[in-house]
């Protein structure tokens, strides 16, 4: 049994495949409101996992990641409402525009380290937010872009859920491939010791920028997916509050595990739903939870589970 659990959570494909099968059949047993919550979880999971490429793998704490989520959402919304573009084209264009935005902004940001990197990403993020808020002629300001047309094929919540699931699977698969590639390993090396990595002949800035652009592109996918589901986009999608949401999710789920942010997204939205149905003070509960996680469970939820399992594995080894 323990062996099975270890294998399930190990690096092999067994865990993700079983999770996918579970997610395919889950909507058959739960109500529509829960399915729609799961779509939100999926969009947040893509967004947070993309941020974790920067934080967990690259060691870069971005405070403006919502900018690329928002650019994706607005690209999708504007293409459908203003240009009448087909749905799939808008979904594909979103990450491309987000990547372009990330390239322009990241070009400046990757020159800085630590807190200065965080502050510059925050500044750029708020600039993008402010543009979306103030450019009434194009983005309709704080009214947002509402009633975005939608392909009839995906009209029902359940159908959209399956579409989102496909997007999630492809995005996570893509990101996993990237972080496991030599590029991903280099990224981790530069997180652990940037100076030494540079001495090895690695162009640290270029690698950081590539990570920034990749993370931005996947954030854009998350944004476009949520925009499609929500039918409306607002400037708050780009606000730093949205960026901190991804940070919180990453920490809750655990930034040292690839699926940590996904687990965190499920936890956050699930707890939000449960707590708010009993209590008005969700952010109080979240604040306490966050503080406890930072203080006592640094690896987040996934880190805690892995730690317990390793302890179990070690004990069994001793017994032999």
């Amino acid at each position: 049994m323990k062996n099975f659990v270890l294998k399930l959570l190990g690096p092999g494909p067994l865990g993700p495949v079983l999770a996918l099968v579970f997610l395919i059949f889950l909507p058959l047993f739960i109500g529509e409101s829960w399915v729609s919550l799961m779509v939100e979880m999926i969009a947040l999971a893509i967004f947070a996992t993309s941020l974790n490429i920067l934080i967990g793998y690259g060691g870069m704490v971005s405070f403006g990641h919502a900018a690329y989520y928002g650019i994706g959402a607005y690209t999708y919304a504007l293409l459908l409402t203003k240009a009448g573009a087909p749905f799939l084209l808008a979904m594909v264009a979103a990450p491309i525009l987000s990547a372009l935005g990330a390239l322009m902004i990241g070009w400046f940001c990757v020159r800085l380290s630590h807190i200065y990197f965080s502050m510059l990403t925050l500044a750029f993020g708020q600039i993008v937010f402010a543009v979306a808020l103030q450019w009434y002629g194009f983005t309709r300001g704080d009214n947002g872009i509402t009633e975005i047309p939608f392909p009839p094929l995906l009209q029902s919540t359940q159908r959209f859920y399956y579409f989102a699931l496909v997007v999630l699977a492809l995005s996570l698969w893509g990101m996993k491939r990237i972080v496991d590639s030599p590029f991903g390993k280099t990224l981790q090396a530069l997180r652990d010791n940037p100076l030494r990595t540079e001495f090895m002949g690695i162009n640290v800035r270029l690698y950081s920028l590539m990570a920034f652009v990749i993370a931005g592109a996947f954030a854009g996918i998350g944004g476009a997916l949520f925009a499609a589901f929500n039918h409306n986009v607002f400037p708050t999608f780009m606000h730093w509050g949205k960026s901190t949401e991804a940070l919180v999710v990453t920490l809750l789920g655990g930034m040292f595990h690839f699926f940590g942010p996904s687990v965190g997204s499920i936890l956050l939205i699930f707890l939000d739903k449960i707590v708010t149905s009993y209590l008005r003070y969700w952010s109080f509960v979240l604040g306490i939870l966050l503080a406890l996680m930072v203080l006592f469970f640094r690896g987040g939820f996934s880190g805690y589970v892995m730690e317990r399992l390793n302890a179990m594995g070690a004990k069994r080894g001793e017994g032999r």
Binding site: I55, A123, I127, G241, S283, G287, V294, L295
Partner: protein, 293 residues
């Protein structure tokens, strides 16, 4: 635009800047000494305003209530800050940047709801003290007395802070710790106790800013989040941890706001961030800060 309008706008920007310098110097002091960027600073500012409001409403209705609130409010906030430092923050000084930011952010979330539990979600307001409620006529225009009061309070508190840091024993120890905490520890300085005092002082400054703004602004749970980003702008422009840099940053921020709203009202919220980004790109250590080794 004639000179008097220009001058009035300058004064209005100056009063905003002076308020910002009080708040932001607390943030900068804590960062400069303890190397912690405290997200919860905005919450302490908010608590300062609420505590001042509480003093005005709860105390028997006498005329000096605002002044009592102005003195007691920030002190109470500083006490809470001291407790948080001693029991919670202390555990994470050697941790990763993300942990520090998220832990202090957790307090933003917590205090946000705590004030909602106590005071509700409606906007609250503190009545302007009678002495300061009039307007002053200069150059055929009028400036609220309260703006003048803020313009005076900024330098007053700043001078006090400067004297404390330069002339007193504890101030010298704070500066020594800021420049080299390890050496301070090796010399037998009690860095732990010092960190606690620095944090209390920083929080007091934030609370003071909140108490000072309370008669002029609507007091609401949202005020923590907006001020913290503005404080970041100010300290980044001036240079993180730089005393005079914070003053310069706050001055620039106030003027940008005042004239930005006048000339390009819709761009006004973008300017400060553009300025912040430009400073970070050209001089990451800020206008008056010193580059890291």
């Amino acid at each position: 635009m004639d000179f008097s309008a220009f001058f009035m706008q300058f004064l209005s920007g100056l009063s905003q800047g002076m308020l910002m310098v009080i708040i932001a110097s607390g943030l900068s002091l804590v960062f400069g000494t303890m190397n912690i960027l405290n997200f919860a600073h905005g919450s302490f500012y908010m608590l300062g305003a609420y505590f001042c409001f509480a003093a005005v409403t709860l105390l028997p209705q006498i005329s000096g209530n605002f002044w009592i609130g102005l003195i007691l409010g920030p002190l109470a906030v500083a006490g809470i800050g001291g407790l948080i430092e001693r029991n919670v923050l202390r555990r994470i000084y050697s941790r990763h940047l993300l942990d520090q930011l998220l832990l202090t952010y957790a307090f933003v979330l917590i205090f946000d709801d705590v004030v909602k539990m106590i005071w509700g979600i409606d906007f609250q307001s503190v009545r302007m003290p009678a002495v300061l409620s009039g307007k002053l006529d200069i150059l055929n225009r009028s400036l609220p007395y309260y703006d003048l009061f803020l313009i005076l309070m900024g330098p007053l508190i700043l001078v006090g802070l400067y004297l404390l840091l330069q002339k007193t024993r504890i101030g010298r120890m704070m500066r020594a710790t800021a420049s080299d905490a390890e050496m301070m520890l090796a010399l037998g300085g009690n860095v732990r106790a010092l960190f606690n005092r620095v944090f209390i002082l920083g929080v007091w400054l934030g609370g003071m800013g909140g108490a000072l703004i309370s008669p002029q602004a609507a007091i609401s749970p949202g005020m923590a989040v907006s001020i913290i980003v503005e404080s970041f702008i100010v300290v980044v422009i001036g240079g993180l941890g730089s005393f005079w840099g914070t003053l310069l940053g706050a001055f620039i921020f106030g003027q940008f706001n005042a004239f930005g709203i006048l000339f390009l009202p819709r761009m006004a919220i973008i300017f400060p961030f553009v300025l912040m980004a430009l400073v970070l790109i050209i001089r990451p250590w800020g206008l008056l800060g010193r580059p890291e080794d």
